[in-house]
């Protein structure tokens, strides 16, 4: 196997001054926009996409990739410091990360997140290099039936994460699915749930929903609760993780990395599903799951490792099969297309320098990110001492520009404000909006695959239990459902969230 040679070729490409500086630029930009709530990598990459036309193909793609995984680092920073996930994948980081910050352990949480992410990024990079070409074979054996079963499992697993009753979480997923159906139906071209608004024919943007539900409504509830006093700033006694923190988190990082790398491979998976799943896995293997949500270091380490691993391994389906697994990869796909490169198996054989150069640049980028992030942790921590009355206008402005910059439409901003109100009502109803986002992202994929499956079998749902992979995942889904209905488990789960709601 000449994989070492290919990797050396990749490093040779990635280490050229031009590519190296675009890697650094991407990582810096990614961290910046990940930290700034309201402007996410999707919007940034969309804005930068036309610019990459003027760059060499590899340099442009390296930079865009850097923004994506850089944002995973940056997104955790705001999640921990101000309870505002910079990215959907950082939503679960808020659960324990923010609690840690409130206990004066913000520095420890940030350091664990950065180091965990670096480790995960390194492992995921080598996973792409070693297993990428091979694993594509396994993903090839997935039919639509398997995807349906997988997505049902993923959605249900997410309900365990939501604080509050399972029924509410399932309801939030259903609302997310419904919102995901808004717009032109992929299969028939019919307009659905648009209220006749032309602006909705392309569906609702993820960013509009995320900024509305998390950005705007968070600002409103924060102001309602504390007024000018702002977020309570816990005294920061220690900025570096203790030996105890390291001891507790290394296993979680390992599990998160493994799970994230696997889940990133699957279409529809990616960073968000990975961080959600890693968190619930941690909670399950933990000896004291009731402590989750109160500032447990594993609750930060595992999802942060997982989302970074998944952000990188989600490149595998794109690079080896040519199938984008999420809207970020769809962006990357168009970045390739701008240069007339169609990602897929042919790139691996005809233009190996593109594939291996990108792989090598990811590892270099991760190294750069640790260097960018760790020394600057002090700077992020200082942000906490800024009173909320100075902070929220800034968040408000970035959110507004972020939403507006997607399409330059008044409509998007007004819609996001509407979702802000909806998020406010959700909070009053004690509903956690996290699962809604997951339902929204997976909805269109679920529908497309369900249709495809049943079209193939001519309406016979038996296929879901006939295909072994699908059967295993459905059994897991049913087992999960049974667990949640089982009274003892339910009680335990309620205890786990009691602290968080208080």
């Amino acid at each position: 196997m000449d994989f070492i040679n290919l990797l050396m070729l990749g490093f040779g490409e990635a280490i050229t001054p031009a590519n190296l500086s675009f890697c650094l630029l991407g990582a810096l930009l990614g961290t910046l926009i990940g930290v700034l709530p309201g402007i996410g990598p999707t919007a940034t990459i969309a804005v930068l996409l036309p610019i990459t036309f003027f760059l060499p193909p590899l340099a442009g793609i390296i930079m865009l990739a850097g923004i994506y995984y850089g944002a995973q680092y940056g997104g955790s920073t705001t999640a921990i410091l101000v309870n505002l996930p910079g990215e959907a994948s950082a939503v679960v980081t808020t659960l324990d990360g923010y609690q840690m910050a409130r206990q004066g352990r913000a520095g420890a949480a940030l350091a664990v997140a950065a180091l965990g992410s670096f480790f995960a990024g390194t492992v995921a990079t080598f996973a792409i290099a070693i297993a990428g070409p091979m694993l594509s074979q396994f993903a090839l054996s997935f039919g639509p039936a398997e995807y349906v079963a997988l997505m049902l499992f993923g959605l249900l697993a997410a309900t365990i994460l939501a604080s509050g009753p399972v029924l509410k979480a399932i309801g939030m997923i259903l609302i997310g699915l419904l919102l995901g159906m808004v717009g032109t139906d992929q299969a028939t071209g019919a307009e659905r749930l648009t209220f006749g608004a032309v602006e909705l024919f392309d569906g609702i943007d993820f960013i509009v929903i995320a900024i509305g539900l998390f950005g705007f409504s968070e600002i409103i509830t924060n102001l309602e609760r504390s007024g000018s006093a702002g977020v309570t700033v816990a005294p920061l006694t220690r900025l570096w993780p203790t030996r105890e923190d390291f001891r507790q988190s290394w296993a979680a990082v390992l599990r998160g990395t493994g799970l994230g790398t696997m889940l990133g491979l699957l279409p529809g998976g990616g960073a968000t599903l990975a961080s959600f799943s890693a968190y619930s896995l941690e909670k399950k293997v933990s000896k004291n799951p009731q402590k989750f949500g109160t500032g447990v270091v594993e609750g930060v380490a595992a999802p942060e490792a997982a989302n970074n691993a998944a952000a990188q391994s989600s490149f595998i389906p794109l690079l080896t099969l040519g199938i984008p697994s999420n809207n970020m990869m769809a962006m990357m796909l168009s970045a390739f297309m701008i240069h007339g490169i169609t990602p897929g198996p042919s790139v691996l054989t005809n233009q190996p320098e593109i594939f291996w150069g990108l792989v090598a640049s990811m590892w270099i980028g991760n190294l750069l990110l640790v260097v960018i992030n760790l020394p600057m942790i002090g700077l992020w921590v200082r942000l906490l001492t800024v009173p909320y009355r100075l902070l929220y206008p800034a968040i408000l402005l970035f959110c507004c520009i972020g939403v507006y910059s997607m399409n330059n439409r008044i409509f998007d901003v007004v819609l996001a404000a509407g979702f802000g109100l909806l998020g406010y009502v959700f909070r009053k109803a004690n509903c956690e909006p996290g699962p809604l986002l997951l339902g929204f992202v997976l909805g269109p994929l679920l529908e497309a695959n369900l249709r495809r499956t049943l079209l193939i079998t001519q309406g016979d749902p038996g296929i879901f239990v006939e295909r072994p992979i699908s059967l295993v995942m459905l059994i897991a889904t049913v087992a999960l459902l049974a667990l949640m209905i089982f009274p003892a488990f339910r009680k335990k789960r309620e205890e786990a969230f009691q602290e968080e709601e208080a």
Binding site: V47, L174, L178, G227, P393, C400, Y404, A417, A429, T457
Partner: protein, 153 residues
């Protein structure tokens, strides 16, 4: 909105949840009423939305009925000031940025948005607005190339 509840009974946040779920379900069913449902083998555009809406209504009813039988629990008090000020300043920004350019829109957003917090003083707010507007113009308009005019055209 929270439905009828006898005194001493009725978990208000859960009743609100029920109203939200049923509301979404009903609106969804109403919006998809003209769409073709199709069959299981050939799903039309209306098939899955109707299934989801049906589940939402069912779930809403289950939660609602359970909530009625539980002891009364109040909804957190609602403060209108931040709710209205923030929402209106966002909407104002959207219109201003399109017609009056980034600088005026950003100044408006921050000055108006600051009214949500009764404790702010005008000097700090003005400085903050000027600083953030300059920062936004440099980073987003020049740096990231967001297609927004800076000044009214």
């Amino acid at each position: 909105m929270a439905g009828p509840a006898a005194s001493g009974k009725g978990d208000r946040p859960d009743l609100l949840t029920a109203a939200i779920f049923v509301g979404f379900g009903v609106i969804g069913l109403w919006q998809t009423r003209v769409l073709d449902g199709g069959t299981l083998a050939q799903m039309g555009p209306g098939y899955l939305p109707r299934v989801v809406c049906g589940l939402l209504i069912l779930l809403g009813l289950v939660i609602g009925i359970a909530a009625m039988r539980r002891d009364a629990a109040p909804i957190e008090p609602i403060k209108l000031r931040p709710l209205l000020v923030i929402t209106l300043s966002i909407v104002g920004f959207a219109f201003a940025v399109t017609h009056l350019g980034f600088v005026i829109a950003s100044m408006f957003l921050i000055l108006a948005g600051s009214l949500a917090d009764p404790g702010s003083n005008w000097r700090t707010t003005l400085l903050l607005a000027a600083g953030l507007t300059a920062f936004g113009a440099i980073v987003f308009v020049y740096g990231l190339g967001v297609q927004v005019p800076l000044w009214p055209q």
